[in-house]
């Protein structure tokens, strides 16, 4: 039995590779492809000769590889986190990001409460609905050759802002969900513990940067990777023992390392591992979903998709207008950040670990499947959507009027300088 472990994992990797190649062909994110693949195979799939598509024997091991994927995904998120970047990013991004988070998080909370979910489930659902997929958004912008557009800075800024909020949000929610809280007091207690733990890491990041710079000043890349990975796995595992999710431990360690001067080197080192183990994570997430359970979550998901699209569009429009962009550019913002992916799955995974209501899993899978595919399509067809909405709201006329006013203002100014 154990003899076949490598073969089973190899089979899984072959399937993952095929899905990845297909996703690349169709210019889509690989995340939805891997989730569907995971759902298609599994216990109900056939065994063909020596090829076992049920993955029953190897499930535990594949899940473990997936767990490592989560560690790398969040370690990387932490590495990217930078207060300095946020300070440099300027007013528009902070204002736009706050508007975006406020609108969509409120909608998510309301949606959870209206559908009668308890607090913890509601927080997870609100998180799933709020946080865009950085990976998909950046990829779509590059693929569609939109990097030169006016609104792109704001889109990427909002995504960065979201990531920073996400890091804090994940830490708090994981304390809540994973802590064995039964009463209000113990709930508060577990939040305090996780906040204290986060604070501890922030202090280490501040005070210990010099010390870490010195320790990590390792020329040999072989020794460097061993030291970094040792720290990553040990800290992550240690965090688990005090009911802070291992993933959050990885995230916080990433935060600490992001302050050191070696952060770029660590990032380069981690990216291939994040990509590889991350892919296995999405596959194992799909594997753990029984396709039959999807039916029960359809309406819940469709509702969430609808409010996500509306919430994102409105938030993007407001953020764009506040930043003085045209209606057209502003409408692009919401239609781009609507993609959902890795972070929604990570939040759902948190719910699974915390033994919350099982419906969250098929809900999140379906939700991500829809928005990881629909999101990029909405981005691509933003022109058509804008033209359609323009007929109702007459945005282009307003833009034109504003431009005319600006032109006449410039002309007036020129006349004045000429006459004086």
């Amino acid at each position: 039995m154990t003899n076949h472990l490598i073969l089973e994992v190899g089979t899984a990797l072959v399937l993952i590779a095929i899905a990845a190649v297909l996703a690349g062909k169709f210019k889509f994110s690989i995340i939805p492809f891997l989730i569907i693949l995971g759902m298609v195979v599994g216990p109900h799939a056939p065994v063909i000769g020596i090829i076992d598509l049920t993955f029953i024997e190897s499930k535990e091991f594949i899940d473990f590889l997936g767990r490592i994927g989560v560690l790398f995904l969040l370690f990387y998120l932490g590495l990217e986190f930078s207060v300095k970047k946020l300070q440099r990013s300027g007013k528009n991004i902070v204002v736009g990001g706050s508007i975006y988070i406020f609108i969509n998080f409120t909608l998510g909370l309301l949606y959870g409460l209206i559908n009668g979910f308890p607090l913890q489930e509601t927080l997870i659902i609100a998180g799933i609905i709020t946080f865009s997929s950085s990976a998909i958004v950046a990829k779509v912008l590059v693929d569609l050759k939109r990097t030169g557009n006016k609104e792109t800075e704001l889109i990427l800024g909002i995504i960065m802002f979201e990531d920073i909020v996400l890091a804090v949000y994940l830490s708090i929610v994981s304390g809540l969900v994973l802590g064995s809280a039964t009463s209000l007091m113990s709930t508060i207690f577990s939040i305090v513990i996780s906040l204290g733990y986060i604070l501890l890491f922030f202090v280490i990041a501040r005070v210990g940067t010099k010390f870490l710079n010195k320790i990590l000043n390792i020329a040999s890349s072989e020794i460097f990777i061993i030291v970094i990975f040792a720290a990553l796995f040990f800290i992550a595992g240690l965090s688990e023992t005090i009911h802070v999710a291992e993933a959050i431990g990885a995230l916080l360690l990433g935060l600490v390392f992001s302050e050191t001067e070696h952060s770029d080197r660590i990032e380069h080192l981690v990216v291939p591992f994040r990509d590889f183990f991350g892919a296995i994570f999405f596959f194992s997430f799909g594997l753990s979903i029984e396709p039959a359970t999807l039916g029960g979550a359809v309406w819940l998901t469709l509702g969430a998709v609808a409010i996500t699209i509306i919430g994102n569009f409105v938030a993007g429009l407001i953020a764009g207008r506040k930043a003085d962009l045209s209606y057209k550019a502003s409408s692009n913002i919401g239609l781009t950040i609507v993609s959902r992916g890795e972070f929604s799955i990570i939040l759902a995974n948190l719910a699974v670990m915390g033994n919350l209501m099982p419906v969250i899993k098929p809900f999140s899978a379906l939700y991500v499947l829809i928005l990881a595919i629909l999101g990029p399509l909405l981005t691509k067809e933003s022109k058509i959507i804008y033209t359609g909405l323009d007929k109702i709201f007459k945005w282009s006329e307003k833009d034109k009027k504003k431009k005319m006013m600006k032109q006449s203002f410039v002309q007036k100014e020129q006349n004045q300088t000429q006459s004086s």
Binding site: K145, T147, K150, K328
Partner: protein, 165 residues
């Protein structure tokens, strides 16, 4: 010309350029080295064309644009005026003939027809238009101006180490 630089977190860096003719184009430098060029319409709203370069292509094109391979005809006259006249920076080699001598002793201006405009001493002290009494030491950097031929001759005869090279 108006140039605005901004960061694209996760992608790279963006330069928005509006030329004198009020034409807008954008250069995006990706973190992976790729360059993208976008041309915008007259409203500066929509991209009308774009082109992608690899890192090495971008460098070559940069050299072409900078006039390093071919100079436009309009600039030829300016070049003519300076034709043959060059300014050279040269670090005095060990045991070169000029060492421990003064500029006056060698009567450089008369025998070589070149001028030493400045000397950057080893201790980074700068000496502008050094007088005939200035002593040249190992490691000094001389800034010399003159006809190309004569500057070359001066360097070869006095600043380069003689013998066992």
């Amino acid at each position: 010309m108006d140039i605005r630089e901004s960061e694209l977190p996760g992608i790279g860096c963006k330069f928005e350029i509006i030329t004198k003719e009020n034409e807008k184009f954008v250069i995006v430098i990706h973190d992976d080295g790729r360059r993208e060029l976008y041309q915008f319409d007259e409203d500066h709203e929509e991209t009308i064309s774009n082109i992608t370069f690899t890192d090495s292509e971008a460098r070559k094109i940069g050299a072409i644009l900078g006039g390093m391979t071919y100079e436009p005809k309009a600039l030829e006259k300016i070049e003519m005026a300076f034709d043959g006249m060059i300014i050279e920076w040269f670090k005095v080699e060990n045991e070169a003939p000029i060492i421990k001598q003064t500029i006056g002793q060698l009567s450089i201006r008369n025998s070589y027809n070149v001028t030493i405009i400045a000397v950057l001493k080893k201790n980074l002290k700068k000496l502008f238009t050094p007088g005939p009494e200035s002593v040249i030491d190992t490691g000094d950097t001389l800034v010399i101006s003159g006809e190309r031929q004569e500057v070359k001759k001066f360097i070869n005869e006095l600043l380069v180490r003689k013998g066992g090279s």
